[in-house]
């Protein structure tokens, strides 16, 4: 279907944009970590918040791997609703993470962005994996 084939590049671009911003945050997470801490902080507190943010970012990268695996293998490439969901969610994540990076929002916001914009599409991806490989449903 021609409409779906125009969804595919849009989905790819939004996923890559989200990925790029996550990697950028990985490299310049210093100011975001400092925004989580009170004005006077010790080095241990800094290390702890830093570790939490690193864990969050790594989980995001893992979920990206799942979704890209499903996308490139063709399992969910031509599925309309997963395509729409993925585009919407990754586009909002890109905008939100852009604000997160530039406006130095605090750490708790990142967990929300992670939950809505990375966990959700990865879960749907896994469901589609099970549906295609487990129940032999056609990936339309």
């Amino acid at each position: 279907m021609s409409a779906v084939s125009s969804l595919v590049p849009a989905r790819f671009l939004t996923i890559i944009a989200h990925l790029v911003i996550v990697i950028t945050i990985f490299w310049s997470r210093d100011s975001n970590v400092k925004a989580c801490l009170p004005l006077e902080y010790t080095q241990e507190q800094y290390e702890e918040e830093d570790k939490k943010l690193v864990v969050g970012l790594s989980v995001t990268l893992g979920l990206f791997a799942i979704e890209l695996a499903g996308f490139f293998s063709g399992v969910s490439m031509f599925n309309c609703s997963q395509g729409l969901l993925s585009i919407g969610v990754h586009a909002s994540a890109s905008v939100a993470l852009l604000f997160y990076l530039f406006e130095q929002w605090e750490c708790s916001v990142y967990w929300w962005i992670l939950a809505i914009c990375s966990v959700l599409p990865a879960c749907v991806e896994i469901t589609l994996f099970i549906a295609v490989f487990g129940f032999k449903k056609k990936a339309s």
Partner: protein
Amino acid sequence: MAFYEVYSHPALIRYRSSVCTKATLFAVVALCLTYIPPLLVAYRSQFWLKTSTYEEQPVVRFQYEAILIATTSAQGEYVAWSTFPHFNHLVGARLRIPALSQVREEDDNQDGKLDRLLLEMQLPLRVEEQLYSLQLLLTFSYQLFRMSTVAMQSLACVHYSSAVPGAQLFISGDLRLQQRAPLPHRGLYNIYNVSVIDSSSPFASAYEFDDIIRKYQQRNTTLLSTAMPVWKPGRAPTAPFMLRAEIHYSTETIYRPGFWETIKFAWIQYVSVLLVFLWVFQRIQTFVFEKQLLTTVPGEPAHHHKLH
């Protein structure tokens, strides 16, 4: 032979779906994403108008009350004068009555509101006395009418001291409204309509300068005189000390805007961002439903005015 477009009108296609479908979910999400983000965008910088300014020439009248204290020696001897009989009585031997050669308020542009106070007084001094400092308090009544009706009694303080004894002091200044809090936008605001100096009190404490100034500065709305003094030394021994003051009445006030004005500005901000979001989501939704990415039941293209 159809060569140019005479008229066109849109044909409406309605897409229907039942309640628990992906299409309905998508429509609800798109609705939320259209109407809520403009609020967030507009909220980031000054959504509700908390203060605003307007210009009005106030009605200022000099109340013809004054207290003058002048130091006549480097050791701190002083002479004083005022328009309050109790104060003059308390001052006793240090009373020195100046000659007021000019006290007048002028209306330059003939609009019925006075623009300036011109004050000229000569303070007679003995031959051995030298004037080192001068403090003068003048009272005014201040009224505004355009937004809320403001009526207050206020003070202008003229103060100058010098290590060099002087012959003449010329002050030119502005009487500006000094606010700690914005004024209301309507109603009567007359809590400061009590006179600054209590003229009926026979006690010296009522005329202490620091008490008067302290109580005056505790008010939320006061007048401030920004004065540029010119001190001329070299007094001839028998000449009196000349004091000339020109005080201009100036404009500009800060107030808190009312409910409807705040709503008006908030609406402008919201709608201008909403239009962008409406256009974007209209394009997205047209693409999704026209290409049937989510299954819906499209209706027949209907004309706006059905004729039958």
